[in-house]
Amino acid sequence: MKTKALLAAGLAATSVLALGACGSSSSGSTASSGSKSSDSGGNQTLAIYAWAGEIPDSVIDGFEKETGIKVTVDTFDSNETMIAKLATGKSGYDIVEPSQYAVQLMVQRNLLDTIDKSKLEGFDNLNTKFVNPSFDADNAHSLPWAWGTTGILYNEKCTGGEITSWSDLWDSKYKGKIYMLNNMLSAYIAGLQVQGLSATTTSQADIEKATTKLLEQKPLLAGYNSDNYADLVGSGDACIAEAYSGTTAAKAVQANQDVHFIMPSEGGTLWTDSFSIVNGTKNQTAAYQWLNYTLKPEVAALLTDDGSLATANSAALDQIKNEDLAKSPAVYPSDAQLAKAEFIVDPGEALTYYQDGWTKVSAS
């Protein structure tokens, strides 16, 4: 009997929790079939599939308030799983936020709609650096939203001085206190640039040189980590780490004045995440309303204020309220720092050379 009672109590508890959570989710992402409603009519919905943390709640709330459209946001953790979901053709999403190389792949697989520029307002607000990018000529399928860099995060107390170059990630002084990003192409950025090679190379010889360099580095590493390296640098468990700019870097720099984010003298790289319209969406109108809404300077500025990320909208820069973030090198590296930064694109057929190399590095 006791077991039964307990089982019943457990069930009751879980259902109460469910109801509680249900009651409080008044707006926002309710579990419903997102894209079933048609363009006309008041009950419009918009289903967005995006990187976590790249669309602040304030942006969604503002959009819902202004347009009356109900927005559902789901988040993904890698471009590849996102593409797998969209490739089914029945994902139900209207707007998606791929990274630059993913835009290339998705266009080739016919997963994205062409964006009709005549329906856009505020396209000129975008930073020219990200307009007409190599991965998507004339922004036919993507509108840049967030951008960032791959550089170095270090703890000055631990390194004992300023860090300026990728080669510091190969300095045996810091043995056991160095982290690299746990991602093939990111690791190769450092491996290539440290030898003066381009991070976008497709040459087999170059890639093999980088592989040798990465193999040489592995004994010095504490590990490969893309998740909590900023905490590790902050706490001093790591002296120096290959790192992405943006939210976590900004947080780490803010929390500890010894922590700095820099672009290496060899260049570093740039990335962007853009909004695209999913091919076959039934909510075209709402999708364009979303694109236009996020092109507004005051909306794009929220990405920095509430998301600690750099906006690709030049006109938004004046509208950022948080001066610290607007000036933080962990969010907006200076133009001088960005001068040599390379724009990472899909390596295409050279991917196999990277894979062969990375397999060796992982297993060594």
Binding site: G10, L17, A21, T30, W51, D74, T75, K90, S226
Partner: protein, 256 residues
């Protein structure tokens, strides 16, 4: 020796709750970074209560977890019972097949389920999530209950039959009460397995059905917030309180 075991097990319980204590303590940490404790705040709790989107994912996880665990436990019970009580052919093959989801890395199951669902034109959502979670919880539920059935003394049911009880009555009065703890164990294990799954959910969730672990995993890139510690604290406290209340009521009933 039994006393040594008892002390050892108490230590194991401590071990189980050490990180939970840390979660509770850090849910009150004023600092946003975990390597530093700068003072007390209830800030993260108020953040949590206002985070409708996070709470919606919690609701999805609970609904999916309860449904998947109920179905898996029920099917697992029938399966274990049948395999233990009847001489069915092909049991080795059958058990091998039921184990496959444990063997194959989840990403493979996830990818292949997504392909199967999309090839029959099924849109991903709560239903596909539940189906995906049944796949990974069924082996657990079956194995746990099979263990209990295999250990049951056969003379019990023989005795009951000798006394003239029908099959159904033997099952209900004699066998089921003995099996009940294993049913509870199977349900709990299935629920928590579903509740914490990341990979299968990645591939089987759809519009508006992001689960809590999925949301947390994808937010790793921008850093976990102490708000999640607050949520973990509340979930554990809530369950403890319910169990305590039920426990007290039962004791009263026994004493009365």
């Amino acid at each position: 020796m039994d006393r040594v075991v008892a002390w050892f097990c108490r230590l194991v319980f401590v071990f189980l709750y050490v990180p939970i204590v840390a979660v509770v303590v850090y849910s009150f940490n004023a600092s946003e970074v975990s390597y530093r404790f700068t003072g007390l705040t209830t800030h993260w709790y108020s953040d949590l209560f206002h985070d409708d989107r996070l709470l919606a994912t919690l609701r999805t996880s609970i609904v999916v977890g309860v449904l998947a665990a109920l179905v898996a436990t029920a099917i697992g019970f029938l399966t274990a019972f049948s395999l233990a009580r009847f001489q069915v052919k092909g049991r080795a093959f059958f058990l091998g097949a039921i184990l496959i989801p444990l063997i194959v890395p989840e990403i493979v199951i996830g990818v292949s389920l997504l392909e199967v669902f999309s090839s029959i034109g099924m849109q991903t959502g709560i239903l596909t999530l539940v189906l995906g979670h049944i796949v990974i919880t069924l082996p657990l539920a079956t194995l746990v209950q099979m263990g209990a059935m295999a250990a049951l003394d056969p003379s019990l049911s023989e005795a009951a039959t000798d006394l003239g009880a029908t099959g159904w009555i033997t099952f209900r009065r004699v066998l089921f009460p003995l099996l009940r703890p294993s049913v509870l164990a199977a349900f709990l294990l299935s629920f928590t397995t579903s509740f914490s799954n990341i990979v299968i959910s990645t591939f089987t969730s759809g519009v508006g059905s992001t689960t809590l672990p999925l949301r947390i995993y994808s937010s790793l890139r921008t850093g976990l917030t102490p708000e999640l510690n607050a949520l973990g604290t509340l979930l554990v406290l809530f369950t403890l309180v319910v169990i305590f209340l039920v426990g007290v009521r039962q004791m009263r009933r026994i004493l009365a």
